[in-house]
């Protein structure tokens, strides 16, 4: 389990996160949702160590992340996979080299073992024949799938996904959502997804944390998100024409 406890973060005297405490559950998809600028990306970057909080505690299975030395952090980070908003594939490398990259650096696998792992991961994301393509030759959905393959290649215990659906059409978004959900169950990964995609929220939100103006405003799951929300959450959830229509249909329990 990953725990964030009493996280505070200020940028240029502006409070971005105020006393945020969240538990992220293993083998489940944990969603952080909120409006743009609510602080959810900052929270995710704090969790993976890209930003240091002003105060608070982050623990990965009771290991205090913030008090670790560089070597301990490095070891822990090898248990983390991350899917970035734009994919963040290395431009100068082929798809195969991108996925092989973390294996080359942190495993003692032979080239053939690494290649087998790359092919396995590519098959898992339905991109069997994409080995030799360059990132510039991939569509948005393919980029996200390759990024997922790269994230899962070293068998991570924790998977972080920063807006996995941004820039994708609804159908491809659904494919990515299902893929993340399946991988989470298959490998019993603690998955944390940062999103404001309503479909994702309703599809994958086993545990949902709503961040409003830098604070945890509501916690629940996909069954309760439409019916038991706070005013701020309802304002966020029913902000589109589609969800407003849903609101008019009686919600089934």
């Amino acid at each position: 389990m990953i725990q964030a406890l009493n996280i505070h973060k200020t940028f240029h005297n502006q409070l971005v996160l105020n006393n945020v405490s969240v538990d992220f559950h293993p083998g489940a998809t944990n969603l952080i949702i909120g409006k743009s600028g609510s602080g959810k990306t900052v929270l995710m970057k704090i969790l993976v160590g890209l930003i240091t909080p002003d105060s608070g505690k982050i623990s990965f299975n009771d290991r205090d992340f913030l008090s670790m030395n560089t070597k301990q952090k490095k070891t822990l980070r090898q248990e983390i996979g991350m899917l970035f908003q734009g994919g963040a594939l290395f431009d100068s490398m082929t798809v195969q080299d991108n996925i092989m990259f973390p294996l080359s650096l942190f495993s003692s696998m032979s080239y053939h073992e690494k290649l087998d792992r790359v092919n396995f991961c590519l098959k898992r994301v339905n991109l069997e024949k994409a080995n030799h393509l360059m990132p510039s030759e991939l569509s948005g959905g393919m980029t996200k799938r390759v990024a997922i393959a790269r994230a899962i290649a070293p068998n991570p215990k924790y998977l972080f996904c920063d807006e996995p659906n941004s820039g994708l059409d609804p159908k491809t978004s659904g494919i990515i959502d299902n893929l993340i959900k399946e991988i989470t169950k298959e490998y019993h990964i603690t998955t944390i997804i940062n999103t404001h995609d309503m479909n994702s929220v309703l599809e994958t939100g086993e545990y949902i944390t709503y961040i409003h103006e830098g604070q945890v405003n509501w916690q629940g799951n996909k069954q309760t998100v439409l019916s038991e929300g706070t005013n701020e959450l309802n304002d966020f959830m029913f902000s589109t024409a589609l969800t407003r229509k849903i609101k008019t249909v009686p919600l089934q329990s």
């Binding site: 822990l76 090898q78 983390i80 734009g86 963040a88 290395f90 942190f106």
Partner: protein, 246 residues
């Protein structure tokens, strides 16, 4: 204040670069790629600039020493000395600051704004060391080779210009080339080159690494990298000349 802040950040950045690479094999592969990117790909521009620089230096010396009391071999001598002491190490460094510096800053800056550097750091990789150290080491090795090559082709350029204009004979030109040659001059040139190579790669890596924003900022970082590296080359040129020649 901003200058001091940048200097502190730059020194911290150097501390990050010079750490043990994650894996020797990966570093070796990156290093070989950089030898090609920074070295082989710069040969063309070095040849063109050096040939024309040598030719102009030789013609100007010939024009300014057109006097029966001044020996003709002085043209060859002056061309050689100018190329070794100043033109090849400094002008080539300034050209490479433009070519390599902007390349490094924009490459690393783009990696920063497209979250590729974040991806490296989340994987537990020292991104600064992984990206910049191979460039620094490759440049420290390949730039002296480029400068020696520049001195050689620059002198040939001078010889071609001077003999094709019938100003000085080949014999006189070569007499000047061999006259009073000192290895120390070449060592001085190579010391300058190594310092300039270090400045070019680390300063441009620094500006690229700390880029924030989007495409516009990548362009700005690239410009800042070239301008800062060029200024530092000029300043360190003066300091090194004071220290090594005076």
């Amino acid at each position: 204040m901003a200058l001091l802040l940048n200097l502190g950040l730059y020194l911290q950045f150097l501390g990050k670069i010079f750490r043990r690479p994650e894996k020797g094999k990966v570093f070796r592969n990156n290093f070989i790629t950089e030898l090609e990117n920074l070295g082989l790909n710069s040969i063309g521009i070095v040849v063109i600039i050096s040939v024309f620089m040598g030719a102009v230096v030789a013609l100007q010396v010939a024009y300014n020493t057109d006097n029966p009391l001044i020996p003709a071999y002085l043209v060859g001598y002056s061309t050689r000395q100018s190329m070794i002491l100043e033109f090849s190490p400094t002008i080539i460094a300034l050209i490479l600051a433009g070519k390599i510096g902007s390349n490094i800053a924009s490459e690393i800056g783009t990696m920063r704004v497209t979250e590729q550097i974040d991806a490296l750091e989340v994987m537990g990789i020292n991104a600064a060391g992984h990206l910049v150290l191979p460039k620094v080491i490759a440049s420290l090795i390949v730039n002296p080779v480029l400068v020696v090559f520049s001195i050689f082709v620059g002198t040939i350029g001078g010889w071609i210009a001077i003999t094709s204009s019938h100003l000085v004979s080949t014999h006189d030109f070569l007499t000047g080339i061999y006259l009073d040659y000192s290895n120390y001059d070449l060592i001085y040139a190579l010391i300058k080159t190594v310092v300039f190579a270090f400045l070019i790669t680390t300063i441009s890596g620094f500006y690229g690494f700390y880029t924030q924003g989007g495409a516009l900022e990548v362009g700005r970082s690239s410009t800042k990298a070239v301008v800062s590296a060029s200024i530092m080359i000029i300043i360190s040129n003066l300091i090194l000349t004071q220290l090594l020649l005076i």
